[in-house]
């Protein structure tokens, strides 16, 4: 699983947004062609944070640094971490300060 943090600045121009979108589509298309891409979703900013006993405290958030906010995720097929890391090469947002967290999804055998 690729978890995306940060990326496009909220002040980006229309042209930059269109260019960035093009790069994401190219990346997804490449991953799909190699049968690596399983699914993915972008996340809207904002959200709620539920804490406390019985989940009694609900606050707006997470309002942390832009970089820590999760902007979306992909699920991809990979043999191992090395294989998965190789797929992150084309992530379009490095130059915008974005980061990827690479995690392995636990397979639950029933």
């Amino acid at each position: 699983m690729f978890i995306f943090h940060g990326g496009m600045s909220p002040n980006a121009s229309a042209e930059q947004m269109q260019a960035n979108m093009g790069k994401w589509m190219a990346w997804i298309e490449k991953l799909s062609k190699d049968n690596r891409y399983v699914s993915g979703e972008p996340l809207l900013p904002g959200g709620k944070l539920v804490t406390g006993t019985n989940g009694k405290s609900v606050t707006d958030g997470p309002y942390t640094e832009g970089k820590e906010v999760v902007g979306g995720f992909f699920i991809v097929n990979a043999k191992d971490y090395d294989d998965a890391l190789a797929l992150t090469k084309d992530y379009p947002d490095y130059e915008l300060g974005g980061q990827i967290q690479v995690r392995q999804i636990m397979k639950i055998e029933m």
Binding site: M8, P10, N11, A12, S13, A14, E15, Q16, M17, Q18, A19, N20, M21, G22, K23, W24, M25, A26, I28, E29, G40, E41, P42, G71, G72
Partner: protein
């Protein structure tokens, strides 16, 4: 027009890899942003232009995420309009300040029954064009300073960011932000709304819009900006907006068409005008086979249309001069007599020293070098203009007066800051 324009400006960009995959029209976000800001400002009132800009920005952000992760919808523009509409309706429901928001539509927006249909109607094709036209009148309102008019036009109608405008004008973000701020202050203090000027005012107000588009085009065409794409972008935007003006029954004056014709002629030479290092190649040395024929013939077509009803504007004359160059097989075979005559007429309409200088240059080929020299010597007001001294030097050189030529080249050299021109002038001085 649109096809010719596309082939002219977008050939290089179509081959970039990102565009093959996204299959989106170039600048779709930017242009749709200009359309949506115009429509939403009309709905919410121009005083709420910032809200309109925020809604549009959110809409594009949502498109970027959704399309980037999933796929591009069949009709991208309709998708954007739908999202922007819904956001606008949400805003209106939330704010409930209808009377302050949109004087013209407040009544219709207050009732749930008519709210959606009112918003929907404004997003119909012809209404979108109408809104853009109204926005052009607002951005080029005579109360707003010229430099601010252009900055505001680029920001609202062309969807450029402050940073992109600053790069185009080789200035700082702060300067552009200030110009836009001042324009918005004027919108508030003068209570400018997105109205179509009354018929008696319409002609004059159209002239301010045309002037602003003319300046915008020249900014792109004559700019010393080292980035070729930025220059082409400015020319392209000016052409796009001028095209809109000529398409609208209210503003399709002969002079609007003449200005568009002029832009087509000039733009047809954009590719031949720069060498591999982006330095300007003078008309004399341009490879005429690189001129864009499609744009040239569009220019002639528009010139033809601009003759009725009869009027003679400076755009007519400038377009006619550009047309003379376009028809000439070579620099030497140019009909300089006609060009000189057109400059004489232009000078009568606009007696300014730059026109006088161009007239003098034309006379060098139409009459004689000696005549050009006499005309040049009579010009006042170009004392700080390096091109003036370079031109005088050139004429002296052609008259084989190398001592005088050298003097004037040296004056020109002292006045230019462009390294390319400095180099060019140094070479000329060495030849004297």
């Amino acid at each position: 027009m649109l096809n010719a324009q596309r082939s002219m400006f977008n050939v290089q960009r179509m081959t970039s890899p990102a565009n093959n995959i996204t299959q989106l029209v170039d600048h779709l976000f930017r242009h749709e942003s200009g359309k949506m800001i115009s429509v939403l400002s009309r709905l919410l009132g121009l005083q709420n232009i910032e809200t309109a800009q925020d809604i549009v920005h959110d809409t594009l952000l949502q498109a970027m995420n959704t399309w980037g992760f999933k796929s591009i919808p069949d009709n991208p523009s309709a998708w954007l309009y739908r999202v922007a509409k819904n956001k606008a309706i949400d805003f209106l429901r939330r704010e409930k300040k209808f009377r302050e928001i949109s004087p013209q539509y407040s009544y219709l927006l207050q009732s749930e029954y008519t709210l959606s249909s009112t918003v929907n109607n404004l997003f119909l094709d012809n209404e979108v064009e109408d809104s853009q036209l109204r926005m052009m009148f607002a951005c080029c309102h005579p109360a707003i300073a010229e430099e601010s008019q252009i900055a505001l036009t680029l920001k609202t109608l062309c969807g450029l960011s402050v940073n992109e405008i600053a790069r185009a004008f080789l200035t700082t973000d702060e300067t552009i932000a200030k110009r836009i701020y001042r324009a918005k202050e004027k919108i508030k203090s003068e209570k400018i709304e997105l109205d179509v000027p009354q018929s008696n005012e319409l002609s004059l107000r159209t002239d301010t819009v045309l002037k602003s588009l003319y300046l915008l085009f020249n900014e792109g065409y004559n700019s010393s900006n080292p980035d070729k794409l930025i220059r082409e972008d400015l020319c392209e935007e000016a052409i796009r907006l001028c095209f809109l003006i000529t398409q609208h029954p209210l503003t399709t004056f002969p002079r609007s068409k003449a200005l568009l014709a002029l832009m087509c002629f000039q733009a047809s030479r954009l590719d031949a005008r720069l060498d591999d290092n982006n330095n300007i190649i003078l008309l004399k040395h341009q490879d005429r086979s690189k001129w864009n024929r499609a744009l040239m013939s569009k220019g002639f077509e528009l010139m033809e249309e601009s003759t009725e009803p009869f009027e003679v504007s400076s755009y007519h004359l400038e377009a006619a001069i550009a047309a003379q160059h376009a028809t000439a097989m070579s620099f030497e075979q140019t009909d300089w007599k006609s060009i000189y005559h057109l400059y004489e007429m232009l000078y009568q309409l606009q007696p300014n020293p730059v026109v006088a200088m161009n007239k003098a240059i034309a006379s060098a080929y139409a009459i004689s070098k000696q005549n050009a020299l006499t005309e040049l010597q009579q010009i006042k007001g170009l004392e700080h203009h390096h091109l003036y001294y370079a031109t005088v030097g050139e004429i002296y050189f052609d008259l084989e007066n190398k001592t005088e030529a050298k003097k004037f080249y040296q004056k020109a050299l002292a006045l230019t800051s462009s390294t390319y021109e400095q180099q060019l002038l140094s070479n000329k001085i060495n030849n004297c």
